[in-house]
């Protein structure tokens, strides 16, 4: 069916609305070149490597606590670490084999943190996991049971923020969600992991969305998707008719539309106030990757131990979308895409806007890795910064309505009160300001560091009160 749709699209039989009629968020935003090199490529399944390194802190919140010991034999899907608090997530083995050691390992944070090393031996899955491809639509579980299953499977936000999903699905008392927004925007340039997932698992994503609606007792869900993925929009629109209450909403392209607050603004025209959570406006946002993981966890009993990762870059021989086991070293992925090109200057975990350069290719893929981007030396060079010319471009593009140049100065001169007063903690670190600055000022570098300091100040103030 996908082929027919693609043919129709290529013959321009499917009409995609023109960009101007579509909605987007209101404040700021930029239009970086898309460079979606791996778009339309099928998801290639990568075999498990010789050894996986599974970090215990793959999510926001308390790190998980290991429940296995050196020498323990595990199967694919065995629980190896339990959630270490309310905001935390379970971690399951992505391979079958023997636990080699529990030791510190370098992860994408750039620091060494505890991780479980597992030597791979064969590929034996837990019996409870349904490995068949058949689509399971029916679900007789209650809302609570669905959330419990999601928590059990260790699902976290797979767009990159890695916030434990079950926490999002248990709204604080007094607040009630009335809309589920599925984030299929993928506004980061280069990345195509979500796009390829929609093309191959559209039905599963729609079932996952209806499961989510059931879990939080909501009768409306909107899948927000940018207009640069017409094939995915067409496919979802074709299928969504069979699912009650799910709408597909093509959105005007603009970065950072995938930001939670920006997407709520674009899709539902609601503005989440400074410092508030999306639930205050009755919205729950989930990434498509997360929705697919929810489908697999609830309907197939499969915990989260693999994900789609894009490996891309202009000099990469074969930019691809891979389905990889969590804990696979990045070097394995890069080799599968044709190896590291000679002129590589930076290897980035994530996209070019929000991603972070890696220190080493031994760093493992985690639940939040959506892409590995290899930049050439020329691309990765930073131009020397000059003085601020007061053009105000950064203020124009900031999607949170902040004043980046003021926040940078406040951080530079350690004026934390000024920074806090100007909502430095609202910064989503999208990088629009630094992208647009004609003087190449390192705005985000400073703001990120200042945001951390101000958050610490607020935390200690709360603790002492």
């Amino acid at each position: 069916m996908l082929k027919q749709l693609l043919q129709k699209y290529q013959k321009k039989q499917i009409k995609i609305k023109s960009n101007n009629m579509l909605r987007t968020f209101r404040i700021g935003g930029i239009h970086p070149p898309e460079n979606k090199l791996s778009a339309g490529k099928k998801i290639t399944v990568l075999a498990a490597p010789k050894q996986v390194i599974i970090p215990l802190g793959q999510h926001i919140g308390a790190p998980a606590q290991a429940v296995v010991q050196k020498g323990d034999v595990v199967k694919v899907g065995t629980l190896i670490a339990k959630a270490g608090g309310f905001v935390s997530a379970n971690i399951h083995s992505s391979v079958s084999g023997k636990v080699n050691k529990i030791d510190n390992a370098l992860d994408a944070s750039g620091y060494k943190r505890p991780a479980i090393f597992i030597d791979v031996d064969g590929d034996e899955w837990e019996e409870t996991i349904d490995r068949s491809d058949t689509l399971v639509k029916e679900c007789s579980l209650s809302a609570k049971e669905i959330v419990a299953k999601i928590a059990q499977a260790g699902i976290v936000g797979m767009g990159g923020a890695t916030f434990p999903t079950q926490v999002k699905l248990t709204p604080p008392p007094g607040s009630k969600a009335d809309i589920i927004i599925v984030n299929a925007v993928e506004c980061e340039p280069y990345l195509t992991a979500d796009h390829s997932l929609i093309l191959e698992k559209a039905e599963q994503i729609l079932v996952g969305t209806s499961l989510l609606m059931k879990a939080v007792d909501v009768n409306r869900a909107v899948i927000g998707i940018e207009n640069n993925k017409p094939d995915a929009i067409a496919l979802l629109q074709e299928l969504a008719g069979n699912y009650k209450g799910i709408d597909i909403m093509p959105l005007k392209m603009k970065y950072p539309q995938g930001g939670e607050k920006q997407l709520i603004d674009a899709v539902a025209n609601r503005q989440v106030k400074s410092g508030a959570l999306p639930i205050s406006e009755g919205a729950i946002v989930q990434n498509v990757g997360t929705v697919y993981a929810i489908y697999e966890a609830v309907q197939k009993n499969k915990p989260l131990f693999e994900r789609v990762v894009t490996v891309t870059g202009k000099s990469v021989a074969n930019p691809s979308n891979f389905l990889v086991r969590i804990g696979t070293p990045v070097s394995v992925l890069i080799d599968a895409a044709g190896g590291i090109p000679e002129d590589t200057g930076k290897i980035i975990n994530g996209g070019p806007m929000m991603g972070k350069a890696l220190m080493s290719t031994d760093v493992p893929v985690t639940k939040g890795s959506s892409g590995i981007l290899l930049l050439t030396r020329k691309e990765s060079e930073r131009k020397p910064a000059s003085d601020c010319i007061r053009c105000g471009k950064c203020i124009d593009v900031c999607p949170m309505g902040l004043n980046p140049t003021l926040l940078m100065n406040a951080t530079e001169f350690k004026n934390w009160e000024l920074a806090e007063k100007n909502h430095i903690t609202d910064c989503i670190e999208c990088g629009s300001c630094i992208y647009t600055c004609p003087a190449y000022r390192p705005l985000l570098d400073y703001i990120r560091s200042g945001k951390g300091t101000v958050m610490n100040i607020i935390r200690t103030r709360k603790a002492t009160k």
Binding site: K356, M359, R382, P442, S449
Partner: protein
């Protein structure tokens, strides 16, 4: 006419005087005159190193306190504190002067760069992104946040080693660099008699082999120094040794046994050859009490030999490389 004007003005003046007098009595804010006197004696750097908001805050704290115990102006040190005591008529409380020490000796040679950072050259910003350009994520980043924070021009990054160096004469132990360092490698320690100090110049908490791979000068947590120390001054926790400066008697035995040279000694006279027992010479000058506890040379060597044997069994790679030298080089400064 003139008379009326004089009387009127005089009356207004008198009424105003009474009002002002009443107001000054009613709204009077009493400030101890001694606060100003104490403030005059203080250096006026307003660095906050004493823990009070500026020099006036420290002055009023001194006036209010019953004794001067626990109050020290790190910038002025004991001379200023004795002046303060004289102003207030309180007893001088001897507080040992402190000084900043840099607990990283990962020089460019010892700690090879494995990647390069091209972001903002500030430690606070680099540390939000990753562990650093070398394999050691605990060590100095070398961008000089400490240098920028110092008000007294007392700490500078040496371009040859990439590490900050403290100028002892200028350092006032105000602690600004300690707060500025995101890696927490700068610590305040007792200045010690004749400025002699011994400290572990490393913060690496990785396991021995990992630490050694990243930096040849790293503390590998082998525990030789802790075994050697007769005063229980050294503890090894998380693969890292720490010397308690309150217990250390500056005998320098730990410096000699350290296989990687992570323990540093400062301002000691150069060590002499094996023949003369240096320990006896050093100790009377530094810690008079230690004389009685210091064992004669022959006995000192015995435990070192024991450690050599036991260590060689346990930790093959490190012990082999360094242990045989210990007995010969006990009295040589290896750093």
């Amino acid at each position: 006419m003139i008379l009326i004007a004089i009387i009127l003005l005089g009356a207004i003046g008198a009424i105003s005087a009474i009002m002002l007098y009443a107001a000054s009595k009613k709204f009077e804010v009493y400030e101890d005159p001694r606060i100003a006197q104490v403030q005059e004696v203080l250096p006026g750097a307003n660095c906050g190193g004493c823990g009070h908001p500026g020099c006036s805050g420290f002055a009023s704290a001194c006036v209010k306190a019953d004794t001067l115990e626990g109050l020290l102006c790190p910038v002025g040190g004991m001379p200023v504190m004795s002046k303060v005591a004289a102003v207030l008529g309180k007893e001088v409380v001897n507080t040992e002067p402190m000084v900043a020490v840099v607990r990283c000796n990962g020089t460019c040679e010892a700690r090879p760069r494995i990647n390069s950072y091209n972001g903002v050259k500030k430690c606070s910003i680099a540390s939000t992104l990753y562990g650093g350009e070398t394999g050691c994520s605990f060590g100095c980043l070398g961008f000089g946040d400490c240098e920028a924070a110092c008000n007294f021009d007392a700490i500078h990054v040496n371009p040859a080693t990439g590490l900050p160096e403290v100028d002892e004469d200028k350092c006032t132990s105000c602690g600004a660099c300690v707060k500025a360092c995101p890696k927490g490698i700068i610590q305040l320690r007792k200045k010690g008699p004749k400025s002699r100090r011994i400290f572990v110049s490393c913060m690496n908490k990785d396991k021995g082999a990992v630490a050694r791979k990243a930096c040849t000068n790293a503390c590998i947590g082998c525990g030789k120094c802790a075994k050697e120390c007769q005063f229980d001054a050294i503890t090894v926790e998380n693969n890292l040794a720490y010397i308690d400066f309150n217990k250390c008697r500056l005998c320098r035995k730990c410096v000699a046994v350290c296989p990687t040279g992570a323990i540093h000694e400062l301002n000691f006279p150069p060590r002499k050859e094996v023949a003369t027992p240096t320990a006896d010479k050093v100790q009377p000058a530094t810690a008079p009490k230690a004389v009685t506890t210091t064992a004669p040379k022959a006995e000192v060597k015995a435990p070192a030999a024991e450690i050599k044997a036991s260590e060689a069994e346990k930790k093959a790679p490190v012990a082999e490389a360094t242990a045989p030298k210990i007995s010969e080089e006990t009295n040589q400064n290896k750093i």
